[in-house]
Amino acid sequence: MVYFAKWKVVLVLAICALGLLLAAPNLLSRKQADALPSWLPHQQISLGLDLQGGSHLLLEVEVETVLRERLESLVDSVRIALRKARIRYSGLGVDGNAVVVTVKEVSRAEEAFQLVRSLDSDTTPELADGGRLRLAFSEQSIRDRAIAAVEQSIEIVRRRIDETGVREPTIQRQGDDRILVQLPGVDDPERIKRLLGKTAKMAFHLLDPGTTPEQAMTGRVPAGSRLLPAADELGPGGRPRMYLVRKKVMVSGENLINASPGVDQRSNQPVVNFRFNAVGGKRFGDVTKSNVGRPFAIVLDGKVISAPVIREPILRGEGQISGYFTLQSAQDLALLLRAGALPAPLTILEERSVGPGLGADSIAAGKLASIIGLILVVVFMVVVYGRFGAMADVALLANMILIAAALSVLQATLTLPGIAGIVLTIGMAVDANVLVFERIREEVRIGRTPISAIDAGYKRAITTIIDANVTTLIAALLLYQFGSGPVRGFAVTLSIGIACSMFTAIMLTRLLVVTWLRRFRPQTLPI
C-alpha cells in the first residue's frame, strides 16, 4: 500500500488537474465563461430555481375533457344523422365511454346502425336487441387521443411561454398527463398562470335572432342554440349579460394565422386585430356577405367577448375584435390566439416560486456556511492529526474542486438543499481519512514501524470505508428516486460528494502520505 506505481501517480494528479480545469469556469462571470473558446471547458454549475429565482409550475392536462368533448360531438352527429334520415329514436346520450341510442322502430335499426357506424372510425358500434345502438370508443383510441392531447398541450404551452419572452424555460412532460414548467427569473408568474389557465378556444357564431336571451333564460332555449354569458360586459342586475348564440360555428379560431394588439382609431380603445388563413377568410367572407345587418358573437372558452353587428361583408380575411379590453388583456388575447388553443384545459397542481432576493440571500448564506464549515473542519483536522490532518485537508479542498467540476460537467442543478449536501460532505468526507489515521495510530501503538503502520492502516481501513460509504450512497440514491425538486439536488451533491471523497481520501491523501514518507523517512510518525 505504500508503493505507488508511476502511472497511478500520474492518474491521480491528472484527475485533480482535470477537476481544476473543469471547475475553473465557475470563477468567471456567465458572460466571460460563454466567451471562452469552445475547446476550453466553459460549463458552469447551473443553479436551481430556488437559488437563481424563478417559478416551478406543475400542470395537469384534463384529458378526460377530450373524451367528453368527443362523446358530446358524437351525440350531436348521431342526432343530426338520425333526424336527417327521419328515424325516430329515444334515450340518446352518453354512457361511460360510449354513446347510446335506442331506435324506436326496430325494423329500421339496421339502417340506423349503418348510418352511425361511419360517423367516427374510432368507435366499435354494436347493435343489440330492441334497437339499442351503442358506439363505444376503444381503450386504445382514448389512450392515443390523451397522449396526443398532452403532446399538443406541451407544444401550445411552449408557444405561449415563448411569446411572453421568458428566457430558457424548461417545459417537459412528467408522467402520463402532467407538464412541468420551469421559468428561471420569473418570480411573479401571475401573468403566465393566467395565460396557461385559458384554453383559448375561439369561434365565431351567429346570434339567434328568433328568441331573446330573456325568453331563453326562462327555459326555452331553441335546439340549435345555447345561452352564453359575456366575458366582461354586465347586464341588468350586475350579472354578466347573456347572449343566445347559434351552436353552429361560422369560423373557428383554428383558421387564424395572426393576431396582434392595437388601438382603435376612432374610439381609442384597445383592440385585437386578426387575420384568417385562406380557408377561414373565404368562409368568413361568405357568412358575412349573407348576414349583413345581423349580429354575430366572438366566443372564447364559452364566453362572448363581443357581439358586433356585421356592417358589410368582410372579404379580405382580416378583422378586429373590440371588446372590453385593457391594453394588457388585448395583448394577452392576441398572444393566446397566435399560440393556438389547448386541446384540453390545464390545472395547476403545484407552484413554487422564489424571488431573486431570496435566491441571492440563499446563495450568500450557503457560501458563508460552506466556507465557515470548511475552515472549522480544516482547523480541527490539523489540531487532531497534525501534519496528517493537513494532508487530509488538502484532499478535502481537492474534493470540493472535484464536486464543483462534476456538477459543472454533469450539468446537475445545484439547489439550496444541494448546498446543504456539500456542507454535510465537508463534515463527512474526512471520515475516510479519520478511519485510516486512527488505524495508523493503533498500528503505531502496537509497535509497528512507520511504513508498516501506514501500510496496515490503509489496508485494514479500506473495507470499512467502502461499507460505510455504500450505505450512505444507498440512502442518497433512494432519495433521488423518490425525492422531487430541490431535495433531488441534495441527493445529487451528496452522492457526488461521497464518490469524490472516496477518491480523494483513498488515493490523494495516500499519495501525499507516501510521498512525504519517502522523502523524509521518519523514524516515528507525528500522528
Binding site: 431570496l358 463534515g427 432519495l479
Partner: protein, 311 residues
C-alpha cells in the same frame, strides 16, 4: 507536530455492561415518540398536507396583526402568520383550500391582491391535494426502501444478526427524530425526509464502522467473552467515532447558524441525527449483538472467516 488525542489510547469505558440503562432509555424515547406522534401529531408542511405558503418582505418591520386581520377577512380558512428570521420577513401559511386543485391557485391570487404591490414576494408555494398525497407516499416509500436496502446490504456484507442490530438502531433513530419534530411542533416537510434519510445513512455508517471492528475481533480473539469483545471494539473505534461526529457537527453548526432560514429545520434535524445516530450505534447496535448469537462462536461463519484469513 503531534496530534491531539481526544480519546486516550487506553480508554476502557464501560458501554456494554450499562446496556440496560441504554435499552430502557431508548425504549422510553421510542415509546414517547410514538405517543407524541399519535397524540400530538405532526405539524406537516404544505408538501404533505397541501396548502399555501407565501414568504414576503415588507418595507420596515411588518405589522403582522394588521396583515392577519386583512387575510383572515378573505374567507380562506385558517391563516397563520409568523416572523421569519427578520422583523420585516413574514411567512404566511394558508390551509389547503376546499374545492380541489383549482381553489389553491385562486386563493394565492386573492392573498396577493389583498397584500397589494407594496411587498416583495420572496417565495410563493402552493401544493394541491393530488401532489401532496403523492409526495407523502413517496416520502414514506423512500424511508422504508432505504431501511430495507440497508438491511439487505448489511446482511450481505456481514451476517444477518448484524443487519438486524443495525436496523433496530436505524429505526430507533428515525422514530426519535419524528418524535422530536412532533414534540417541538417543527414543520415536517420534504427536506425533513431528506434529513431523515441522511441520518439513516450517517447512523448506519457509524454502526458499520463499529461492526467491522467487532467482526475483526471475532476472528482475532476466539475465546474472549463476547461482552468484553464488544466493549473493546467500541473503545477501539471510539476515537474515530468522536472525531467524525465532531467534524460533521462543525459543518452542520455552520449550516444551522449561517445557512439561512429556509434550511434551518433541515440542519436542526441533521444535528439531532448525528447525535442520536452516534449514540444508537454504540449503545444499541453493538450491545444488541449479545442477544443475537453473533458469530456462532466455535463454528459457523467466524470459523470459515478465520480459515480464510490463515494463508
Amino acid at each position: 507536530m503531534r496530534g491531539l488525542h481526544l480519546i486516550p489510547a487506553d480508554a476502557d469505558l464501560q458501554f456494554i455492561s450499562r446496556r440496560m440503562i441504554f435499552f430502557v432509555f431508548s425504549g422510553f424515547l421510542v415509546l414517547a415518540s410514538v405517543g407524541l406522534f399519535g397524540a400530538k401529531g405532526m405539524s406537516y408542511g404544505i408538501d404533505f398536507k397541501g396548502g399555501i405558503m407565501i414568504d414576503i418582505r415588507t418595507d420596515g418591520p411588518a405589522d403582522i396583526a394588521a396583515m392577519r386581520g386583512t387575510l383572515s377577512g378573505l374567507g380562506l380558512g385558517e391563516v397563520s402568520l409568523q416572523e421569519f428570521g427578520a422583523p420585516d420577513d413574514v411567512l404566511i401559511r394558508l390551509q389547503k383550500q376546499e374545492g380541489g386543485e383549482k381553489a389553491q391557485a385562486a386563493a394565492v391570487d386573492k392573498v396577493k391582491a389583498a397584500l397589494g404591490q407594496g411587498v416583495e414576494y420572496r417565495r410563493t408555494e402552493f401544493v394541491g391535494p393530488k401532489v401532496s398525497d403523492e409526495l407523502f407516499w413517496d416520502g414514506v416509500m423512500a424511508v422504508t426502501f432505504a431501511i430495507a436496502a440497508i438491511l439487505v446490504y448489511i446482511w450481505f456484507r456481514f451476517e444477518w444478526q448484524f443487519g438486524l442490530g443495525a436496523v433496530v438502531a436505524l429505526v430507533h433513530d428515525v422514530f426519535t427524530t419524528i418524535g422530536l419534530f412532533a414534540l417541538l411542533g417543527m414543520e415536517f416537510n420534504l427536506s425533513t425526509v431528506a434529513a431523515i434519510l441522511t441520518i439513516a445513512g450517517y447512523s448506519i455508517n457509524d454502526t458499520v464502522v463499529v461492526y467491522d471492528r467487532v467482526r475483526e475481533n471475532l476472528r482475532k480473539f476466539k475465546t474472549m467473552p463476547m461482552e468484553k469483545l464488544l466493549n473493546n471494539s467500541v473503545n477501539e473505534t471510539l476515537s474515530r467515532t468522536v472525531v467524525t461526529s465532531i467534524t460533521t457537527l462543525l459543518a452542520l453548526l455552520a449550516l444551522y447558524f449561517l445557512g439561512g432560514e429556509v434550511i434551518r429545520g433541515f440542519s436542526f434535524a441533521m444535528i439531532w441525527g448525528v447525535v442520536i445516530g452516534t449514540y444508537s450505534s454504540i449503545c444499541l447496535a453493538v450491545p444488541l449483538l449479545l442477544y443475537l448469537n453473533v458469530g456462532q462462536r466455535g463454528g459457523g461463519k467466524a470459523q470459515e472467516a478465520a480459515t480464510e484469513q490463515a494463508p
